[in-house]
């Protein structure tokens, strides 16, 4: 099973096995990772599952759909490497992915 590493803003590391097909957001929620709220439950409607992804992973991740960048406008401290974790589908391709969680979601 692919391993995803979540790093909180205060540098706590959580490396979790996440099943293929789930999203990075779902992996966080199912394992009680602090700092990812996902208020809307994965509908790309709330920007509270915001994470930062290291640039080397950008090509391997699914491309941003219309609307993700719009939602990121509302995220807390968005950066160039910001993504919504509900839009990142886990696969063997992204085994080892590291995401950084912002200090808050809003």
């Amino acid at each position: 099973m692919p391993k995803i590493t979540y790093i909180t803003h205060d540098n706590q590391n959580y490396t979790i096995d996440v099943q293929n097909g789930l999203t990075v957001m779902e992996g966080a929620i199912q394992n009680d990772i602090p700092g990812i709220d996902a208020d809307c439950g994965g509908g790309m409607a709330c920007a509270t599952c915001h994470v930062y992804v290291k640039e080397e992973w950008f090509d391997k991740l699914s491309k941003k759909e219309d609307g993700e960048e719009d939602m990121l406008d509302m995220a807390f401290e968005p950066k160039k490497n910001s993504r919504l974790s509900c839009q990142l589908v886990v696969s063997d391709e992204i085994d080892g992915l590291i995401v950084n969680i912002p200090s808050k979601q809003g």
Binding site: A45, E69, D73, M74, E77, K80
Partner: protein
């Protein structure tokens, strides 16, 4: 003080259908919601997105669902208190005394929390010092546009609110419009208008910048904005407006003595009652073994909570289960029979 059989907190789909169930079984109710409109998340988050799992409705948008629920309430007289947030819930004898931020006070044996993920509040700027300027020179909505006349106003955001206010305020103020990227999610026609105004010098248009610092001791004097490439620019400004949409916060609900775990209120599955007698939680905000965060679950939970309210509101009467197809009582309440 307003007396009612049940007070519903939250005017989303679950709150609306719960009101329907209460009125149908002959109880009074009033609804309080922090938003300025009815519909909750359906209206605020996804008015145009289609929903496919409402029983017997093949497809409908959040807005259509809300309108249908409002229509279903037409036979009943229900008082809505919008733009009102419940701040305090306290027990007094056998009733709950509920106070809102606008000073309204309710007395009721039953409080039904249908609050979704909490109350919607504006998303705020990141830098900490922004707090001290809030509601003085830094705002997340416009209440009185006159205060900006002849002043420098820096507007942040890329949606319709930011764009519309940039256009409007540019008539009588010096406007900086600042957004984190080149694309805007607001209406194309407004984006074009803003770009024209920028060309003619009416709006100072800055993209790929975000707020880095707000400067000034008591009075806001200037702001620092930071470009994607790290460059920092200082802008003199009298006012700052931020339009980043709304976010849900549990808010005061956390202080009412309820068992809360991960922002969800624990309830039983018979009455959807919390650990406090006469306070119920239904819809997305409640949790119990097997809870599904679906609108249809909220309807079921509301229907059962409404029956539980009957016992406390009418302690000397016995609740009688009836069908709308056959009951003269129910049909009268629905306005179908004289």
């Amino acid at each position: 003080m307003k007396k009612t059989d049940a007070l519903i907190i939250g005017a989303g789909p679950t709150g609306l259908f719960t009101a329907h169930q209460l009125k149908l079984i002959g109880l009074d109710c009033e609804i309080v919601d922090n938003l300025d409109k009815i519909g909750g998340q359906c209206i605020e988050l996804y008015p145009d997105k289609p929903i496919y799992d409402i029983p017997a409705i093949t497809e409908c948008t959040g807005e259509e669902l809300t309108n249908n629920l409002i229509n279903q309430l037409k036979p009943f007289d229900i008082k809505f208190h919008l733009n009102d947030r419940v701040n305090e819930v306290k027990k007094e004898n056998n009733n709950w005394i509920v106070k809102t931020n606008n000073g309204k006070i309710f007395s009721t044996p039953n409080v039904i929390i249908a609050g979704g993920v909490g109350s919607f509040e504006p998303r705020k700027f990141g830098p900490k010092e922004c707090e001290k300027f809030e509601n003085k020179s830094l705002f997340y909505s416009v209440k009185d546009k006159k205060i900006f006349e002849g002043k420098i106003v820096s507007i942040f955001g890329g949606g319709d609110s930011a764009l519309d206010w940039a256009v409007e305020l540019s008539k009588n103020s010096k406007v900086n419009l600042i957004h984190r990227r080149d694309e805007f999610r607001g209406a194309e026609s407004t984006v074009n208008k803003v770009k024209e105004l920028a060309k003619s010098g009416k709006i100072n248009f800055l993209t790929k910048y975000q707020l880095d610092k707000a400067n000034g001791s008591n009075q806001l004097e200037s702001i620092d904005i930071k470009h994607d490439n790290g460059e920092i620019k200082n802008l003199k400004t009298d006012y700052v407006l931020g339009f980043f949409g709304l976010i849900m916060h549990l808010g005061p609900i956390a202080n009412w003595g309820l068992n809360i775990d991960k922002k969800k209120i624990e309830v039983d599955t018979e009455k959807f009652e919390t650990n406090q007698k006469g306070i119920y939680a239904v819809g997305d905000i409640c949790n119990y073994p097997g809870k599904l965060k679906l609108i249809l679950s909220g309807f079921h939970e509301g229907a059962l909570a409404a029956r539980a309210c009957f016992k406390l509101a009418r302690p000397n009467e016995k609740y009688r289960f009836e069908f709308t197809t056959t009951s003269t009582n129910l049909l009268k309440r629905l306005g179908k029979k004289n």
